[in-house]
Symmetry: C2
Subunit: 162 residues, 2 copies
DNA sequence: GACATTTAGTTTCATTAGAAACTATCCTTC
DNA sequence: GAAGGATAGTTTCTAATGAAACTAAATGTC
């Protein structure tokens, strides 16, 4: 927060021009990249499989979590519980997942993939992974590792600074 | 796309379980990080300045672009033109920006910050930069540079693979 | 120079998301 | 064990979003 303008101002007056170069602003850059990647990936699961992003995320988490509930999906994906609820409902309506009230706690509903859901993922997941592979093929193994590492650091820092 | 299951299957049948580990899936990781950063930053400009993300982006671009139009904002920010139109309208209503029809082309409207708009940015931009500085303070200079670099590579690759 | 086409921006309309209210179950505590 | 929270999930209601229709101005074509 230093004054590095060369015009000799000694204090920040309201007419001083403060600029923000978004090309150097990490939140903006990250958001734009993530947004574009999302949009590109969406073509895979939306056009071919008629899934929206919330539904896709529920399925993806189901593919490697055996005991999943709506609550957990909310926590893992950072999505609103209403949104998750609706995604689960439509997946169930389509017969891709099934819900069973938990034995221990009747409020919880255990989610599981149906055969149809697993079959869909068996086709979709390799496509998604192939697409990702194409995306990161421009990076060296080290760059890719560093990227994930740096992202983890930022997540941890985010939790610290709120 | 190799079969690395150890169960001796020779072909991919529909009951084979294909998993996707989202923690290793870049699009998901990137999206979640970007999302959380956006949400945190939103507190700055939403709570203190009553700006939504679209309005904030228009102002930020205006702060270092002298000849900006709605069309350019769309291109720079990847936002829908309806959304941009509405953001511009509300900023104008609040007296933070002004619009003048371009001399050369009456369809275009040149956007510029008003004094009030510049004054707002003079307060907000340093806050945003300070917040970003806090976020990236967990990274070394090299890591930060590499991160931006890698992101640029991914953007370029995105354009290539669509 | 009229007529079709493109482009910038707005408006309308249908969908979506999220906030808040609500239901049903569970947990605490007295 | 009844009362007063919590908690998981759904529903309702409102606001935001994007697709598509629309307006107005520019450009191209004949």
């Amino acid at each position: 927060m230093t004054m590095d303008k060369a015009d000799g101002d000694v204090s920040l007056e309201s007419s001083a021009r403060v600029e923000l170069d978004l090309n150097q602003f990490l939140p903006y850059q990250l958001n734009r990249l993530a947004d574009r990647i999302s949009q590109a990936l969406e073509k895979l699961y939306a056009e071919s499989y008629e899934l929206n992003i919330a539904q896709w995320r529920v399925l993806a988490w189901l593919s490697h979590c055996d005991d999943l509930t709506a609550k957990k999906v909310c926590a893992y994906t950072n999505m609103d519980k209403a949104r998750v609820s609706r995604a689960i409902q439509s997946l169930e309506d389509r017969g891709l997942i099934s819900r069973t009230p938990s034995q221990q706690d009747q409020r919880l509903h255990d989610l599981q993939l149906t055969d149809a859901g697993q079959a869909l993922l068996n086709k979709l997941v390799p496509e998604a992974q192939a697409w990702e592979a194409g995306l990161v093929s421009t990076l060296s193994v080290g760059e890719y590792r560093d990227l994930l590492n740096t992202m983890r650091k930022l997540e941890r820092q985010l939790e610290r600074i709120g």
